[in-house]
């Protein structure tokens, strides 16, 4: 999993923002704001974790059951993939 090069992740005023850059703005001309858990998962991806690693971090930091964390993580990543924000490791940007 990797963050698409068409998006940038920024921390501003304590908020985590995902913003399209370049031609992606044609499809989505706005800003995604992430919840605390969403921000943690994106950070994990940016640091090179895979879905399992990200879910483990989520379970640890938010004291949730690992299975629930895994389900939530996969659902979140699926959503991001639909927007083209997350790509498979071997996908070309």
């Amino acid at each position: 999993m990797k963050l698409s090069e068409d998006f940038i992740c920024r921390k501003v005023c304590g908020e985590t923002l995902l913003m399209p850059i370049g031609e992606k703005t044609k499809e989505f001309n706005g800003i995604f704001t992430l919840s605390e858990t969403g921000a943690l998962l994106i950070d994990a991806i940016v640091k090179g974790e895979n879905a399992d690693g990200a879910a483990a971090l989520l379970a640890e930091q938010f004291a949730v059951d690992i299975e629930i964390a895994r389900q939530d993580t996969l659902a979140f990543f699926e959503q991001l993939q639909q927007y083209g924000i997350l790509l498979d490791d071997d996908a070309a940007d």
Binding site: V12, M19, G22, K26, I31
Partner: protein, 378 residues
């Protein structure tokens, strides 16, 4: 009757309001303006910055590399929303380099333009990689109107460029400023806005040309009385004229939100200037607002953060006129620190022009309330 439903103001995205609210507490420069050039291909007599004649970007204006370096520092400091303005920013041959470079930093870019140069490569750029919003000035509804107001044969071109951008799905806001040169055509301009079916922001109050290098009087500005009548007429067309009752409500609200220190000093800066917003001029000088020519320092020389801290410090010293705090005309008045400074050279002196204009608005509304017909703007 609401004749002009299409004439509305583009609302701000909720995320922008949220970031500005948090930024105000933290002192984060969430939004900024980069004034890329004072050059312009129009020669509007009422322009606050362009001196006429200077069609090309001027010597001493920052290079693309300098703007991108400032953009990087601004992004690191928390800037998300950037307005690129001029002069006419699209005159710069390196506009695309600046625009795409700033977007890559994660900036949401708006562009102020007279609309005449959105052709060729620039039009293609906006179609492929649109700004958050294009703010296009609409000066008149006829070719003759453009010649009279802007000294340019640009009407057809501007309107066709607006249509092209709209068809491409680019977000557009029309800025309409009324002056002596176009006020007589306000109904026709409104009809054009309605036909274009775009968001529109109107202004009947024109700042004195505080930024021109050769000082001139505010050319073409409406008299306070004419501006007041036009304000009421336009609001009537948009179905949003304040009633005396709603004005009273607003008065009450203003009283409870007065400055903390009661009547001892006037109000501080209520808008975003210096709280979360800044302005950088063509040479890299930071100011709290483009209408307040009090540069605090050079960003390329001193760095962004140092200039931002100075901008905040200046903002904290600003006090509005005490007279404005409890003024009964306040609900009708567009007074702000920048208007005070631009009109009087002093933040704490009430500008006579706005006092007269607000008084005329009240008179006009009272007349309307008595069932009399609003007098046509002359």
């Amino acid at each position: 009757m609401n004749e002009l439903q299409a004439v509305t103001t583009a609302s701000e995205p909720p995320v922008s309001r949220k970031l500005h609210a948090i930024g105000r507490r933290l002192g984060t420069p969430v939004s900024g303006t980069f004034e890329l050039t004072s050059g312009c291909n129009f020669n509007c007599r009422m322009c606050y910055i362009h001196d006429g004649g200077a069609k090309d970007p001027q010597a001493g204006e920052l290079t693309a590399a300098q703007w991108l370096s400032i953009g990087k520092e601004a992004a690191d400091a928390g800037t998300v929303f950037l307005l690129l303005t001029g002069g006419e920013p699209l005159l710069r041959r390196d506009f695309a380099e600046i625009y795409t470079g700033l977007k890559k930093l994660g900036m949401m870019i708006s562009v102020n333009t007279n609309g005449s140069l959105i052709t060729g490569d620039t039009a293609a750029l906006f179609e492929k990689n649109p700004p958050m919003r294009l703010n296009i000035s609409l000066y008149a509804d006829t070719p003759e109107g453009y010649r009279r107001q802007c000294g340019a044969d640009a009407y057809e071109n501007v309107v066709s460029n607006i249509r092209r951008m709209k068809a491409a799905g680019v977000q557009i806001k029309l800025n309409v400023s009324f002056t002596e040169y176009n006020a007589d055509r306000f109904r026709e301009i409104a009809a054009l806005v309605r036909e274009l079916d775009l968001h529109c922001q109107t202004s009947v109050y024109m700042y004195p040309p505080v930024r021109r290098t050769s000082p001139t009087a505010a050319q073409g500005r409406l008299s306070p009385e004419a501006a007041a009548k036009l304000r009421v007429q336009w609001d009537l067309m948009c179905g949003k004229t304040p009633t005396p009752e709603s004005a009273e409500e607003l008065r009450k609200l203003l009283r409870v939100s007065e400055c903390d220190d009661g009547n001892a000093r006037g109000e501080g800066v209520r808008c975003r200037a210096g709280h979360t917003a800044y302005w950088i001029d063509t040479k890299g000088q930071m100011m709290m607002c483009g209408m307040v020519p009090l540069p605090v320092g050079s960003v390329p020389e001193e760095g962004f953060l140092s200039c931002w801290q100075k901008t905040r410090a200046l903002m904290q010293t600003v006090r509005m006129p005490k007279k404005c705090t409890n003024c009964s005309l306040r609900p009708y008045c567009c007074v702000c620190p920048a208007a005070c400074f631009a009109e009087t050279g002093d933040f704490s002196t009430a500008p006579a022009y706005l006092c007269e204009m607000s008084s005329c608005i009240e008179q006009e509304l009272l007349r309307l309330n008595k069932g009399e017909k609003a007098i046509e703007a002359e």
